[in-house]
Symmetry: C2
């Protein structure tokens, strides 16, 4: 059937058909069309959406990616046929039926994910089936390699290439801003790609963006790393392992993170940047992704196994995840704290210890320091100012201002201090509540928004002593966070009355 083309800016590999035309062609929602531009011979498959009104019979709405692929002008004629379903649907069904996917089957699925040949509905079935039925280590390896093959890759002439990853779940985990420059200051190369926060208050990419641009192609990441030894960029812009970005969208509503997919996603990104020495931070705690140390050790073993299959050396650090790292949550606040440490601040200890420990593990893995002396080496690179100098080179190569100092970083102009209602010991910081508050205040979009903690668990506070400050860039955002803060109680002081229920029966 021949139809007139009309472009619709929708970021899906689909077309919008009038319901009458669909009936005529004999297709229903869930089918595919093959759409051809006779002017240049290009033809692509497309999902079908239907409408009674938005598109006239005889016209076809081409969504952005289809329009691009066909290079068709509005008003021109395209021809359409019903197209067969992709074979990957059969492979997804095999996984739904508890089958083990072969390398080629996983590759077909990942290819179709990356080229948007699977609808969200279909991708959701794949992710759900993986979550429920799991994957064995062969399948995880195949998924990792398929994710690598369907994206951009770096290729350095000299090894080792170092990488570092935290599996997340702890607010305030700004350690990459210290670990990367310390490692690069030793002469090792670390092309660090990182994520933006989805449910968190600030991803490493959100932090770095306070200081410099973070969107670069894979090629630019390689060039910058060769020049100064390290970068901190947003992985989403590099086209490295892009399948993962699609999968994350589907996992989001259920907050699931299927083990095999998580392993594949992390390791694909490390493999694709050419890393052969990898340290993985596994925060353990009731409010993180890994509930206890035994579970953390199991995950660590899986990372190490997968690394061996991929010829990468992996070590894992099980870390404490039940309280924020350092005293700040939110982009500018976290950057200020990390930069102060690079400038010589001797606290917060939780931040300094964790960063130097991870860097030390890398130095021992790389043979830069004898076993047991990696930490000291990292400490020397920090205290000598070499790490700070290296960080300024990284900021500069990414196009930021290297003259930046911790003191010069602007925080949100609207603030609200929360004071202890009673004297006592701080007994609990609730991570999810702290993150919710920071997000309500505007993080990560508003760089100045977030939380500054004045007391951490075990510290004694007096009545009316400040326990935390909320920062916001916009007054209405601060108001939202303050209101919700009363309900969420993210910091608990021993003996504090959590709520008071008035007796509503008055003596009349």
């Amino acid at each position: 059937m021949k139809l007139t083309a009309k472009t619709l800016d929708i970021a899906d590999r689909g077309v919008l058909l009038n319901r009458n035309d669909a009936r005529n062609i004999g297709v229903v929602e869930g089918d595919r069309l093959r759409v051809m531009n006779h002017a240049n011979g290009r033809a692509v498959p497309a999902h079908i959406d239907m409408t009674d009104v938005m598109i006239e019979p005889g016209t076809i709405g081409l969504y952005g990616p289809i329009h691009l692929a066909l290079a068709v002008t509005d008003g021109a004629e395209v021809e359409v046929w019903e197209a067969p379903k992709p074979a990957s649907l059969e492979f997804i069904k095999k996984k739904m039926n508890k089958g083990k996917l072969l390398r080629e089957e996983t590759r077909a699925i990942v290819n179709d994910i990356v080229s948007d040949n699977l609808s969200l509905l279909e991708l959701s079935a794949y992710v759900t089936a993986n979550y429920i039925n799991g994957m064995d280590m062969d399948e995880v390896e195949h998924l990792t390699l398929a994710m690598v093959e369907t994206g951009s890759r770096l290729s350095f002439s000299n090894r080792p290439i170092v990488d570092k990853h935290s599996i997340g779940g702890v607010p305030g985990n700004k350690i990459s801003l210290i670990v990367v420059p310390v490692i690069a200051a030793s002469g090792l190369k670390i092309p660090k790609t990182s994520s933006r926060a989805i449910t968190g208050a600030a991803g490493t990419a959100d932090l770095m963006e306070v200081l410099a641009p973070v969107e670069f192609s894979a090629e630019e990441v390689q060039t910058m790393t060769e020049k100064v030894g390290g970068v901190i960029v947003w992985g989403g812009a590099t086209n490295i392992a892009p399948a993962d970005d699609r999968i994350i969208v589907v996992e989001y509503p259920f907050k699931i993170d299927a083990r095999g997919q998580m392993l594949a996603s992390v390791m694909a990104k490390k493999f694709a940047v050419g890393a052969n020495l990898v340290v993985i931070d596994i925060p353990v705690g009731l409010t993180t992704k890994i509930a206890d140390v035994a579970e953390g050790r199991k995950l660590a073993r899986e990372f190490i196994d997968l690394g061996e299959r991929l010829k990468m050396r992996v070590e894992c650090a099980i870390t404490y995840g039940d309280a924020p790292v350092g005293h700040t949550i939110g982009p500018a606040l976290e950057v200020k704290e990390a930069l102060a440490v690079l400038e010589g601040a001797t606290e917060p200890q939780s931040l300094i210890l964790k960063s130097l420990s991870l860097a030390g593990i890398v130095f021992e893995m790389a043979g830069k320091a004898p076993q047991g002396e990696g930490y000291a080496m990292a400490q020397e690179l920090l205290s000598s100012g070499k790490a700070l100098a290296k960080f300024k080179q990284i900021i500069e190569v990414q196009g930021g201002d290297p003259s930046v100092t911790a003191a010069s970083i602007p925080l949100g102009e609207f603030t609200h201090v929360v004071n202890a209602p009673e004297a006592g010991y701080v007994v609990n910081l609730n991570n999810p509540s702290l993150v919710s508050l920071a997000r309500l205040a505007g993080a990560p979009q508003d760089h100045g928004a977030g939380i500054q903690l004045h007391a951490k668990p075990g510290e004694r506070v007096d009545k009316h002593q400040p326990i935390f400050t909320i920062y916001a860039d916009r007054a209405w955002r601060l108001k939202l966070a303050v209101e919700e803060g009363r309900r969420l109680m993210p910091v608990l002081v021993e003996g504090m009355v959590l709520d008071r229920i008035p007796n509503e029966h008055h003596i009349g």
Copy 2:
């Protein structure tokens, strides 16, 4: 945040936001907004789609259902907030984690399905989890009742009310056109809702539509049934158990039909029309949904169990499903064949036997005939012409022309006869291939399109004797079907050469 409203005719309970506004509000794809029209105080939750271009910052695109619910005029101001995720997402996750859903949890999910509060992605996770982890009979009962409660219902003052269902998978299964009038001719009431074909060549609703309108409200179905004793309508228009229509969309790409969902979907529709006597046709065969008789018996037991829980009497007939019922496939061809039987034709035997057997089971269940004599009663209603007279009343009450005869039904004007390439016995009819051909020829959209079989398995044909005819309403459709017919070989004659591979190396 306040935004200007703009209506978009998209049949999804969503809104389209400029990516900048989304960032400002702090929402990502997969989140929900609460959208409020201050002019009338109405507020509804909505899914979020994002665009860089289609919608300007400050404007919000409201899809059809949201626009309807808010009753907002284009250009007016609406206010939006981030809305919490529905609790049903947690219940779906529970099922993903192999949990057993409570009655209230299933009810919440079905409510959100029917009110479009779940995205297709989320619904897909639910259906996939049900498919993989299964449901026990309590969960099936709760799902059935939730499907009933979220739709329209009939309520007759007198019982019994009869219903009949075929679980499908056999082409040419036009028996409802005979079973319904035979049952109604006995004085029993049978308000039959039926489906349109999705992957088949003609659903019962597609067949009936050749003779009369099939789209009625539940109220109209009740009135018509009270008047003439029976109807044959399209269930999709009645709003009976509408959750099922949503679930089918999600099952379509993978051609799955999770057992528990199938049971619930069938029985919800029977329960909602008030039926208390139900006969279920379970065709078994390699190309149907149920592979063998043992599996068919197991399914029958489940239908009967579920019926007992719902206080409905259910009997099941296990029928032969490896060949088409009768000799025709496609709307007009099937109607012509069924109408001829009502008019007194003595074949095809497969159609007559099956129809009268099912009606006979109902007469015995209802106490209209003694055990073992239901078939004879059905036969008498057919041969006396009472069933034909009743069918004409049904056609008339639905707005069709009761003077219709089998001879007067127009078939597709474009035909192609396929002859036996060799003499021999017909050894196989391939059901899926026959359905594909009928669909390529235009069925079910083109009423005249389909297949007329001239020989069935076991019959002897001479060389060049016609074995089947393809009918189409449009010449290009016929061409498509004929071309594909050569490849699919839907009818096999013993000794026939299936393909000839020429030797492409010529002696040069």
